[in-house]
Each structure stands twice: as structure tokens, then as C-alpha cells.
């Protein structure tokens, strides 16, 4: 037959084998992409809290997917049911896969029972970001806070997650703290489980 066209093959994305997760791209490619994301969102909002919320929403989507991917690939589909379990999952596994290292520290809040903090000296996403003075306390770590929120929500631990700069003595750049405040029901369930 003359001129037989190529039949289009629509491979179902679920049929393709899951990659091992070892592939890498350059940091600058990610940094450029992230900067465009932030710049685009800046044009869509009027104030800083809106901008942080949009970045958080973007991160939330990433977090939900990261949870599914890592649960399947790294943990053999085991679900975390305890608070400390999910926190150490976020602090070690998620951080290691996304940023190449475990988070610097995981602390329990002293003032409130439901607060936990993950700290990092310099978040990967903030490495090439400089915040102008008129934007005050804006932190692009809101994206990472969104990722953590996505992971926690997906795992059944609803929480409010925010990113803050914490000045450190003897260091020029402040370190970033991701503050996780769990919902009431999580603490009630945790105390019930013993």
C-alpha cells in the first residue's frame, strides 16, 4: 500500500515501568524553572501572602505525588500511621530523594504540643533567590512547605505548614524552618494509639 501513515501509539502512562529515580538534571535547570514559577505567580497576585499561598499550592501538588511515588518505590507500600513515623519519613526519605540529603534537624516545639519544626541551613529552592527588602518576610520556602503539607495530608495527617526565616548568630544568611502544626484530630488519634 502506498503512503501508509504511522499509527499513533498511545502508551498508557501506568503501563510504563517506574524509573529507579536516579536520573538527574542540573541544579541550574531547576533554579531557572523555579524562578519562572515565582515570577509568573508574582504577576498573578497583589500581595505577599497570596504569593506564598500560590507557591504552597504548587508545592502541595508535588507533595501529594511524591508521597505516592516514594511509598510505592521506597517503602514497599507500607503506610505510616504514627506521628513520629511520618515526620521521620518526611525528614529523611522525602528530603533525601528531593534534595539529596536529609534535613538538618527535626525538633518538637516547646510551646505547643502540636508543633514540630524541620530546619535547614539553606533550602535548595532558596539558593539562588534574593528577596527584596520591600517584600518583607516572604520566603520561597513556601513551596517546600507546600510539599510537606501535600505529603502529610496525603498520609492522613492534616496540618498547617509554613516556612520561616530564623536568623542564626554567626551566620550571614538566616536558616529556614518549616513549621508544622498538626490538626486536633491528629493529636487525638495519636494519644488514642498510645
Amino acid at each position: 500500500m502506498i503512503g501508509v501513515g504511522k499509527i499513533k501509539q498511545y502508551t498508557n502512562v501506568l503501563d510504563k515501568p517506574l524509573s529507579r529515580g536516579r536520573q538527574e538534571v542540573s541544579l541550574s535547570a531547576f533554579a531557572f524553572l523555579f524562578s519562572e514559577l515565582v515570577q509568573y505567580n508574582q504577576t498573578q497576585v497583589d500581595n505577599i501572602s497570596e504569593l506564598e499561598r500560590r507557591l504552597e499550592d504548587a508545592g502541595y501538588a508535588v507533595g501529594a505525588r511524591v508521597l505516592e511515588l516514594l511509598c510505592h518505590r521506597e517503602k514497599g507500600n507500607r503506610r505510616e500511621t504514627r506521628l513520629l513515623g511520618i515526620l521521620s519519613f518526611v525528614h529523611s526519605t522525602v528530603w533525601k530523594v528531593l534534595f539529596g540529603k536529609v534535613a538538618d534537624s527535626l525538633e518538637k516545639g516547646t510551646e505547643h504540643e502540636d508543633e514540630y519544626m524541620i530546619s535547614e541551613k539553606e533550602l535548595l529552592v532558596n539558593r539562588f533567590i534574593s528577596v527584596p527588602k520591600d517584600m518583607g518576610a516572604f520566603n520561597c520556602g513556601a513551596f517546600v512547605a507546600g510539599i510537606v503539607k501535600g505529603v502529610l495530608d496525603g498520609a492522613g495527617f492534616p496540618a498547617v505548614v509554613t516556612a520561616h526565616f530564623v536568623p542564626v548568630d554567626g551566620q550571614q544568611r538566616p536558616r529556614t524552618t518549616i513549621l508544622i502544626k498538626f490538626a486536633e484530630e491528629v493529636l487525638r488519634r495519636e494519644s488514642r494509639l498510645g
Binding site: Y10, Q23, F32, L33, E36
Partner: protein, 186 residues
């Protein structure tokens, strides 16, 4: 000091800092989703992605030239080779191949078998017109414009639309000679 020899794509990629490709893929996906929610029209999203790619390309080419030490390309064919072997490798960790040169040597096809932007992606029926990787066409256009080449970049094949590879057609429109911004007399 003797001029540095140009590095191969692999060597440059090994020397830059790298991040997990999945973070990159998922962030890109989140960005495309945001654009779709805000703009709703697939054509608008395509245009916006191209514009964002253009902004990235304009800055990316500086980093590319600084890190890879490539010498000035003699002709467009060499430019194409350098983009495919060094450029794509350096930033995305994948090598592209160059095919289908036209008779005058002003237009070529860049073929990507492996594309880190599209892992885990499936286009729904409502977005069939979307060029998901349109940011790449913008990046190429922006980068080449900064080195005095006005180009037009279009998609020929797209795996998300059922083809077997990603193919970009790059057409050189004109070479814009560099303009000296100041008059000689002043």
C-alpha cells in the same frame, strides 16, 4: 593561560551541581497545572510556556557559554551539534540527536528520545492541543536570540500525542549582527 578546551557534554554535566530529576519533573507539572487553571485556554498556555521558556533561555545561554567553554560556532550546523550534545546534556542530562537538515542548511530537527519533563505525564482529552514541553521551544529561541540568531522553533512530534519521540524543528530566520550600543564618535 592557554585557552580552555571545550568540554564534552558529559564532562560539564558531571561538573555542575545536580538535583533529582523527579523534583524537576514534578515542579514543571505543578507549573503547567497552575497555568491551565489560570488561563484555561490551551493556546494561551502554550504561548505562556513559550514566553517563560524564552525568559529562561535568555539567561541560560550565559551559563551555558561560561561553563562549557565552547568556541564560537563556525556555522549553523555546528551550533545545532553543540546544542544537542552539550547544551541538552548539561542542563537536562539527556542527549538529543540532530536529523533532517534542509537543503540550505538553515533548518534542522532536534530529536529527543528521553525527556525528563514528561515523566508520569498523560494528557487528558480536554488538553489534547497542549504542547506540554513548549518551554523547551522557548528556551531554544531565547538562547539562540542572545547569540544573534533569530529562529523559529516548532513541534513536529510529541510523545504525549502518541508519537514515538519528541521532535523540534528549528529554523534559522536570520543572523542579526551584534550592534555596538554606543556611537564611535561620542
Amino acid at each position: 593561560m592557554a585557552p580552555l578546551a571545550p568540554k564534552t557534554g558529559d564532562a560539564v554535566f558531571a561538573s555542575v551541581d545536580r538535583v533529582n530529576a523527579e523534583l524537576f519533573t514534578l515542579t514543571y507539572g505543578a507549573m503547567v497545572r497552575q497555568l491551565l487553571t489560570d488561563l484555561e485556554e490551551v493556546d494561551e498556555v502554550n504561548k505562556q510556556l513559550d514566553q517563560m521558556g524564552y525568559n529562561i533561555g535568555v539567561r541560560l545561554v550565559d551559563e551555558f557559554l561560561a561553563k562549557s567553554n565552547v568556541s564560537r560556532c563556525v556555522d549553523f550546523k555546528e551550533t545545532a551539534d553543540v546544542i544537542a550534545k552539550v547544551g541538552f546534556k548539561m542542563f537536562l542530562g539527556v542527549t538529543a540527536s540532530i536529523t533532517s537538515w534542509d537543503a540550505e542548511g538553515t533548518s534542522f530537527s532536534l530529536v529527543l528520545e528521553d525527556n525528563p519533563l514528561v515523566d508520569f505525564v498523560e494528557l487528558p482529552d480536554t488538553c489534547q492541543g497542549l504542547h506540554y514541553c513548549n518551554i523547551l521551544s522557548g528556551v531554544l529561541r531565547g538562547a539562540l536570540e542572545m547569540v544573534s540568531m533569530k529562529t523559529e522553533v516548532t513541534w513536529v512530534r510529541d510523545m504525549l500525542h502518541g508519537d514515538d519521540a519528541y521532535e523540534l524543528r528549528v529554523k534559522l530566520l536570520k543572523q542579526v549582527p551584534e550592534e555596538y550600543p554606543y556611537k564611535d564618535d561620542e
